[in-house]
């Protein structure tokens, strides 16, 4: 696999205006890179900014500051029109397969939409030669093409969503919790499909999920987010075997293990309390309100991401 960078994010920040003068610090200075053909997993609790991160990268939201570099081009400042050629190379898979497909369109029209939008085919009728192989590729049949999305089951719908995202063979696909709305038996179908595409076409995924075991399975690198910031990022095995940040430790300790014998042995290292409001994030280390190892410095100074060896970056005062 080449070392070509598909995506580089520098200090990306996104603040939303909440009613009045309040600001939601949804994303605060996040930086990472994604290589061709690799998967970066982003995990964290809801409200940690992982979805905002995905949507800002795909430019559904306008970034407040920072840089998004796609294939060597800075796309942060481009307007929607200038962005269009780049859209062909970055696609998104959404969380809710029910809401993300237009119920008034047939599956053929849904999958053909990117082809028409980017002028790959001029007329709807010509799209079939692309749509049929794609449908079969995601395990559906030609007969499904004339059906409406609302007739499909959740897993089938999500595969239609994947077909739509992959039909242009993009370099980068942002997967925003693509499996969390699906049944367990269906999740593996979708994951296998995504992995197969990656092997064939060398797609890079930015994979967002809250299911830690799935993230471990699909990702080459994992970033753990907390309140709009990266707490820890590094190679998947390194993060899971040797978590350094207390938040990552707690998160891993909370995963339910599908093995009753192990589950009973598991020593409890879960995190108490709730995630604080991103409108007024705690000063210093944002995790200090829930951290069992909290020290004085944690309340005062924001820890920086530092390399703890092997590209394993962690933002914690205790790891200095």
């Amino acid at each position: 696999m080449s070392e070509q960078l598909i995506l580089e994010i520098n200090n990306l920040t996104k603040h939303f205006k909440a009613g009045g003068k309040q600001t939601v610090h949804a994303l605060d200075g996040v930086s990472f890179t994604l290589k061709k053909g690799e998967t970066l997993g982003l995990v964290g609790e809801s409200g940690c900014g992982k979805t905002t991160c995905a949507r800002t990268i795909i430019r559904m939201y306008e970034p407040t500051s920072g840089q998004i570099i796609m294939d060597g081009t800075d796309i942060t400042e481009l307007n929607q029109k200038q962005l269009k050629p780049f859209r062909k190379n970055m696609q998104m898979i959404f969380q809710d397969p029910y809401a993300s497909l237009n119920a008034r369109m047939t599956v053929r029209d849904i999958i053909a939409e990117p082809l028409l939008a980017h002028g790959v085919v001029k007329r709807k009728q010509d799209a079939n030669e692309y749509v049929y192989p794609m449908l079969e590729r995601v395990g559906l049949t030609r007969e499904h093409a004339s059906r409406y999305a609302h007739e499909f089951s959740g897993g089938q719908r999500q595969r239609v969503g994947i077909a739509r995202a992959l039909i242009l063979e993009p370099n980068l696909v942002v997967c925003d919790e693509p499996i969390s709305a699906l049944d367990v038996s269906i999740q593996a179908q979708v994951i296998n499909l995504l992995k197969d595409f990656q092997e064939e076409k060398g797609v890079s995924y930015l994979f967002i999920a809250h299911d830690l075991s799935m993230i471990r399975y699909v990702s080459d690198n994992v970033g753990v987010m907390y309140l709009g910031q990266l707490a820890e990022i590094g190679e998947t095995d390194e993060i899971y075997k040797n978590p350094l940040h207390p938040y990552t430790k707690g998160l891993l300790g909370s995963i339910p293990i599908a093995n009753p014998a192990l589950a009973r042995q598991k020593k409890k290292s879960s995190i108490e309390g709730d995630i604080p409001s991103p409108i007024k994030p705690p000063a210093g280390c944002r995790f200090h309100t829930r951290c069992p190892y909290m020290k004085e410095i944690c309340c005062e100074e924001t820890p920086k991401l530092k390399d703890a060896g092997n590209g394993h970056m962690v933002a914690c005062h205790l790891c200095d």
């Binding site: 859209r87 497909l101 369109m105 939008a117 395990g139 049949t141 007739e151």
Partner: protein, 383 residues
């Protein structure tokens, strides 16, 4: 090995098969719509009315404008007197003339007047060589034998020539009703289509762009909606003169306000939905997003609004016609027919009741259908 233990080769088609019937959205709506008797009744009435208005004139020998002053204000049920030779009947018109009526109820020719015997309060007519007298000494007027001073036996007959009678200019009410319904429906449909186009575009753009554009566009709508619609329509009619086009233009520029509000509300909600966001990340143009994603999904509410707008447009047209600033004679609309009928309200109430009844029918039918559609499209009932 027992056959029942034979391995099944499950194919992918089998596993991915969709069991439900291939039912489109329209089919789904129709399924729920037809379960409500009132909406089906409304739907049937509308179909019948459209047939009546569109195909009806083919089956009538009269035109809406031909006047026949010999047969003015004849009711559908006539009081008639037997002729002296008993092979027909005679009917006294409001103009103190006598009409021959055949036994089957069709109208014949007018009797020729022989002389006036004002001292006996009689007008003598010639009926196939026999003299008959119209005695107007007391109401109701009767036909009598001038020689014997006996009244011919009277009976009541249905008018077969003019099933619903004639108006004050001797025009067939049934024919005029067909044309009137046609005009009313046409005015309503055209006005509503114009409204739909303006409303959908205006509301769609306002809702989709949002922000300041939305704020300004909606304030304009607010201002327009504070002007009483009736007054506004009357003003337009006064400036542009009466006539079919002016009515259509007047109505077409009024009701879009409601439509624009409905569409805007829908679009505001829909544009935050993931499939619209998805279209944006795909790179689809604003036009595609608006025309293939937003508006088709808002179509449900649009349809309901339309079916509710039609009766009010029809009513407004009738109202204008009744005020006399609608269509110009001899064109008929339900409103002008009511207006014409008010002159003879005491003697010929049917001339008012019949078009009024049709207006009611149309209103009921469209309201029922709108109601049924709303229930059928209600996503809360969806399973």
């Amino acid at each position: 090995m027992d056959n029942k233990w034979e391995m099944l080769e499950a194919t992918n088609e089998d596993r991915e098969k969709i069991w439900t019937k291939n039912r489109t959205f329209a089919g789904d709506v129709w399924f729920r719509f037809r379960r409500k008797p009132t909406s089906i009744a409304g739907f049937i009435i509308i179909v019948l009315l459209i047939l009546f208005a569109a195909a009806g004139p083919l089956f009538t020998e009269y035109s809406y404008s031909n006047q026949n002053l010999q047969v003015v204000n004849i009711p559908p049920r006539m009081k008639v007197f037997q002729t002296p030779d008993k092979d027909g009947y005679l009917y006294i018109t409001q103009g103190m003339q006598v009409l021959q009526v055949n036994t089957d109820g069709t109208l014949g020719s007018q009797l020729t007047k022989v002389r006036e015997e004002s001292n006996r309060m009689m007008t003598i007519f010639d009926c196939d060589g026999t003299e008959v007298a119209l005695y107007y000494g007391q109401k109701p007027y009767v036909i009598a034998n001038p020689q014997k001073n006996t009244i011919y036996p009277s009976t009541e007959l249905w008018n077969k020539s003019y099933l619903l009678g004639t108006d004050n200019l001797g025009r067939d009410i049934l024919t005029r009703l067909m044309y009137g319904t046609r005009v009313s429906l046409m005015v309503a449909f055209v006005a509503v289509i114009v409204n739909m186009i303006i409303g959908i575009l205006y509301g769609g753009i306002s809702g989709y762009l949002g922000g300041n554009v939305d704020a300004v566009m909606m304030r304009i709508v607010d201002i327009i909606s504070t002007i009483p619609l009736t007054l506004y329509v009357i003003l337009i009619m006064v400036i542009m003169g009466s006539g079919l086009q002016s009515i259509i233009i007047a109505l077409g520029t009024v009701y879009w306000v409601d439509m624009a509000r409905v569409v805007r509300g829908q679009v505001l909600g829909l544009k935050e939905q993931e499939f619209v966001q998805a279209a944006k990340t795909i790179g689809s143009s604003t036009k595609t997003i608006l025309l293939t994603h937003l508006i088709p999904n808002a179509m449900g509410s649009i349809l309901v609004t339309v079916t509710m707008l039609i009766p009010s447009a029809i009513f407004m047209e009738a109202f204008l016609g009744y005020l006399g600033i609608g269509l110009q004679p001899p064109l008929a609309s339900l409103g002008t027919m009511c207006n014409d009928a008010t002159e003879n309200l005491r003697s010929c109430p049917h001339q008012l009741f019949i078009p009024a009844l049709v207006i009611c029918l149309i209103m009921f039918a469209f309201n029922f259908v709108g109601d049924g559609l709303r229930d059928a499209l209600d996503p809360k009932l969806k399973k």
